[in-house]
Structures are given as C-alpha cells and as structure tokens.
Subunit: 436 residues, 2 copies
Amino acid sequence: MPQPHIFPSFAGEFFSRISYMEKAVLITIGDEILSGNTVDTNSNFIASELKNIGIKVVQIFTISDEIDTIKNTLSEAFQLGDLVITTGGLGPTRDDKTKKALAEFFNDEIALDEVTFNHLKGYMERRGRADILERNKEQAFVPTKSIVFQNHFGTAPCMMMELDGKLSYSLPGVPYEVKPLIKDQIIPYLQEKFNLNYIHSRIVSVVGIPESILADTIEDWELALPENMSLSYLPVGTRVKLRITASGDNEEALKQQTEDKIQKLLPLIKDHVIAVSEDKIENILAEILTERKLTISTAESCTGGELAKMITSVSGSSKYFLGGMVAYATEKKIKILNVSRETVDQFTVVSEQVAQEMAKGCQELFDTHISLSTTGVAGPGKGEDGKDIGTVFYTIRIKDQEVTSKLYMPHLERVDFMDFVSQKVIQDLVGLLISQ
Amino acid sequence: MPQPHIFPSFAGEFFSRISYMEKAVLITIGDEILSGNTVDTNSNFIASELKNIGIKVVQIFTISDEIDTIKNTLSEAFQLGDLVITTGGLGPTRDDKTKKALAEFFNDEIALDEVTFNHLKGYMERRGRADILERNKEQAFVPTKSIVFQNHFGTAPCMMMELDGKLSYSLPGVPYEVKPLIKDQIIPYLQEKFNLNYIHSRIVSVVGIPESILADTIEDWELALPENMSLSYLPVGTRVKLRITASGDNEEALKQQTEDKIQKLLPLIKDHVIAVSEDKIENILAEILTERKLTISTAESCTGGELAKMITSVSGSSKYFLGGMVAYATEKKIKILNVSRETVDQFTVVSEQVAQEMAKGCQELFDTHISLSTTGVAGPGKGEDGKDIGTVFYTIRIKDQEVTSKLYMPHLERVDFMDFVSQKVIQDLVGLLISQ
C-alpha cells in the first residue's frame, strides 16, 4: 500500500480521538453533472467500495463549483457523516474553486508542498512534458493541515483533512483517477486506522412476479427481520433484485444470520428465484456457464453489440464466450449467418423466422453450445421493412432446442432499448438454464 | 400533449403569481443510489431536458427514504430553486415513504383519487392483471392539493404541488417511467405555463493538447466572455470538450452571439479541433460518414462489442455500419476473419500484426470502406499469451491505407478499459478522416 505524505502541520494525534467511522457523505463538485452532460459514476463506485468496508453513504450532494456553496455543503456534510468525500473541482482550469473553499472552510492556508511538486514533476516527465506550466505547479499547492495522497494517474493530488474528529478527502473528478485513489489508497488507509463495522449483503434475483405481489408474499418474513438487517427492492427491467443487508461487528455471525434468513425466504418464492448472491445477470450467467462448461455466441442486429459487451464485461468470459456477430445489414445476415433470402423476403427481416435462422447460423459459425440472436428496430424512425419501431424478436438456442420470443417496447430511447433487450435475453437464458 | 388531472382542492390561481422559472433542484430518493447498487441516470436525463428549455439545475440531493430527511431536503430545495423534482420512493413496497413525507411537508392529506384509480385499473387490465391488490390501490392515493400527471408506463403517478409560488414534481424512480413523464408531460407543461429563458450551448471538441496548456492558450478569450456566457472544460478520455453556454430571452441573438465567440476561439486552437457542435464522438463520426457516404465495420477482441455498440447507438447508423464481429477466441479470428495461424504463432494474438490482419479480414468480410479492429487483454488476470493486462493494439483501415496504434492502460477496470479503448479508436478515426 502506498503511504500518504503527511504535511508537517497536520494534527497527527487526532486518530486517537476517532473511535468509529460509520456514515459517509459524498459531495460531487462541478458543472458537468448538473448540466446533464455527464452521468455521475464516481458516487456509485465510491459508495459500493465503502459499503464493502462497512461504511454507509447516507447522502450525496451534487453542487456547483462556487466557494460559498462548497463551504456550506461541507458544513452540512460534516453534520450528517463521519467521513466526507468530495470529487471534482480540482482541475487546472478556471472553473475549479474547490481548493480555495477547502482552505477557507478549514481555516487553513494553501502552500506549495515540495513532495507533491516532485511527484507531479516526475508524472509530467514520464509523459514527455518537461515544461511544467505555472498552472500545473498550482496543483502542488495544498492546505497546510492536510495529508496528501499522491495521484498516480493525473495531476491533482488527493487531500485529507480533519475536523472535530471527522475526516474529509478531496479528490479530482476524473473516474480513472478516482478509482485507484479510492481502491488502492483510501480504503486500505481507513481499514488500517479504524475498527470498522462489517456489512454483509446478498442479492436474491426474482423474475415472473410483479413487485407488489412479491411484497405481499414476503411481508411477514420482512417484518420479522431483526434491527440490524434490512431489505431493499431493486427493479431491473422485468427482474426484481431483493437485497438483504446486515451490519455488525462479527463477520462470520453476519454471514450466518443472512444465510438463515435467506433459507426462510426461498420457500416463499421458490418458483421465481433465478439466483442468490450474484448481483448482475451477466455474472449469474457466468457462474452457470462456467460450472456446466457451456460455450456461447451471439448474433445481434438491433442490440448492436450490447449483448456481446454485457457478456464479455465479466472477467473470465473468454472461457465461455467464443465470439459474436453484429449483422446490421440484411445482406450480412444472409452472407455470414446463412439466413436464407427466401425467409427474409417472405417474413421480413424483423421476424421470428429470421431470429431463428440467425441463432442457428451463429451456433454453426462459432461452434458453441448456446447461441443468442436479436433482430428488431431500435428506432427512432421506421425500420426499412416498414415494421414499427420498438419491436424485437430474439432466439435462445441451447444445443438443438430453441425458444423465440417477441418484445414490443416503443417508448424506450435507442440506447435504453438496446440495454433492456440485452438484459431480457440474458435473463431468459438464465431462466431456461436453471429450469433444465 | 396529455392533459394532467387537476385535483379539486388544487389552488389553481397560483400560476399568475409565478413570473419566472430559472433554477431547478433535483432530489433522488432511495437506497439504490446510496448503496452503490445503481448509477443515477435520471438526474442526467432531467438536467439535460431542463437545460433545453432554459432551466438550470443548481443542485442535486441524493437521500435515503426517510420521512424527516425527505422533509428537510424539500425545505432546503425550495430555498435554492424555483422548481423541485423528486424521483424515487413511490413504489408499492415497504421501503417507500415519499408520499407520506410529501403530505406532511405540504400540510396536506392523502386521499384516493378516482381518476388516477381508473387510469391505474386500465393500466393493470391491459397487462392482464385484473386483480388489483390493496397495495396497488395505494398508488392511486395522492395529496389532495396536487395536480396529477398519469404514468403510462408504471403504476405510480407523478404529483405536482405548489409552495409559495414555486413548484415541485414527484416522480417514480424507474428510468423508463421517468423519461416519458419528463419529456411528454412535464416539459411541455412548463413551456405552456411559463415564459422561459433560452439556453444555447455548443461544444468544441479538442484533442492532442493537455487541459492546462489549452487553458493557457485560450485564457484571454475566456476572460473576455460576456456575463451571460460561460465556458466549461469536460475531459473525456484524451479529448477535452469545451462547452460554451449562453442564456437570454432571444434565441436567435444567443445563437449569433455564441457563433461569433466560437469563430474567435477556433483560430487559437485550430490544429486541435476535431468538431464543433456535436457532443459525443460517435455522433461526430456519424456526421462525417453520412456526409462522405462511407461505410464501416468492426472486428473486436478485447472491446467485446462496445465499439459496435457505440457506433450503433446513433440513430441512423444502419446507413453506414454494415456489421461487426466479436472474435473473442483466437480460432474464430483465424476462421472468420482470415487471420493467419503463422502470424498468431510468430507474434502472439495481441500484436500489431494480428490487429492489421483482423482489420483487413473484417473489411473484406463486410465489404466496407473503413474497418476497425482491436486485440488486447482487458484483464484482470494475465492473457493466455502471457502479455500483461491493459495492452491493446488497434488498427484503423480506410480503403487501402491503415494505421495501427498501441495503448497500455493497466490501471483501468475491465469495463472502463473497454469503454476507453472504444472511445479512443473512434476519436483517432475521426482525426484521420478530418485530416484527409
């Protein structure tokens, strides 16, 4: 674990005064998120990493890069949590005012830190930029009461400050810089310094039952959960994820407690459970395919590569995913996937029959046990064949058996449509494999 | 435009008291985001839709589903903005307390609304669920001082309330339900009722110049921007997007003003500008390919379908994207893309030579002007050929010319790696096409 650089004026004795670290508040600074230009993925990553070490994010503020707003929000955040993490607002450009706000809030001054400056110089030199501009040098100015965690993938360092026995970390906003700072430096640091509570959580994936009926079915079970456990409903497409979370100081006891409760839950909804434990449907699929030594391939039209991407986003997927084809143009479906021209002429390209032939051709091309195909119109605008947008046929072929289904989702935006259909296809496949 | 249902006790005269609508605050309610389980995409969508009609999101709160927290946040939000939009916390399950908090905050009561109940009944019946549970019926209970916008894609209606001449809308949290409510109902409603300011914004995409040098280069230009205009730096991979935003009451004047400023900016950075106006790199590519009538295909290994997905996420991409191949297994690269076994044996599968042969084979298979190929190891875990993770070779082939490049990004997580590489490949292609 890389060691942070402790600035000489840092009040080093404060750790003895902090006995717990349970609640975190995140502050996202800058115009990118507020303007709708960028989706905030940092908060998601940080919240999930903190959860793993037993720290719960209780609130997230997304604010503009203005000194007064930053100071007011810091003050509110320190009231709500033991740990405050800010991201953004540390770039070298004019619209970043975070460091000034930090100094004012902590009643501190900004000074050039030689260690940080040398780190920065090395970072720039390795990138062939020996001429450090004044603007870059500014990045090595930090509050004098901070502990500095060097940034190995960018120019803005992470600064840790302390207030009344609570901690704040200020990070840059670029996700590629945030992730290693959190994962390799901040998390290990918190684990080393504090006795943290454990949080254990498991996910039960349920399909084929509406959320309201599900809630009625398991109401008595939910009401009987003890104080330290909670249940959340997380709908994803047509699947509902039930997340059971427990917190406490004994990891083994928590695991046992959660397992006991899940064993009581399963009989209540047994026909609808497709997986326990794994969260994402592509991970559930990975478990099944790996265990059964099955291979898979994809032939996509309207999902445009998203289906292959979902499957390959799982580490180790090269063991079962042999390949995929995005056959966008009709001629390519005919040439490469061996779809017959007569079938296209007779039934149009968005049809049950073409989906079936695509799956068959795909299975032969890649020589896999399973093949998946999609053909449809993601929209907007009518498809070339005159069918309405939002229609998709998909075939799941397992060895010599196949199931073809149709979806009609005209209200979805293009990318949502591609995501939704891919989710649904993999979910159906998981359902089929489990029932086999 | 669908008309909302006005509840009898709604104080209908308040519109005459509202003269402006400029600042919005978003509140995201529920555990999904805070726990790191779900990325908040609703805020992004809503902020961007509001920006189009001249309303600026000034702050976003993400809070837990607790009555006091919701009430306190509503109160803070009404101080910061003229318009408050909440999402989430309206599901039929136990963890949703938003409606109760709304009633308490607005000093109102919840009552069954017959119109909403009938809408709900119709919605359930169309889905073949004639037996409405008590729990579903609860969805038709709304505050008596609200205006109800019916939800056509889910069971929780949207409720509009008024406080001291400011408005709040409470929506469910499911993105598929949020989008049509915002786009088809709330935005047209706001446009009809208020005289809104226009916001005009344009993006200049810049590559090959670090953010700090860019900032120095255009500093004088930026300082000379008038009050109603602002500049933001939005880094995406190795590209920097400069967003120039102007607001005012005359749309035409704003457009002219922005255009004038951009014409003064371009000569300062001319060698680095790859596009003006379009935001996403795949849209920039779409413009160029459509204009020049060029077709494109992809052969992917480590990007696993993301490259094809990025290209096909643009509406109208079927005009130029003929198809893609995800050749994950080495044997499939040989069999389908015609990569020679000798090349693989001599240079390994992650090599410049294999990238080149993949691009060539892909161009022939799909018969396109342009082909793109990627071969690398996304990790984690060493690649089968022994090369370190994070290495990728990619070839861009335009007619009979080709460029092959290498990237080494070992610090990126798997999905980030796939995204980053795909962004970079398309960005390089755009650069090459522009310089031709």
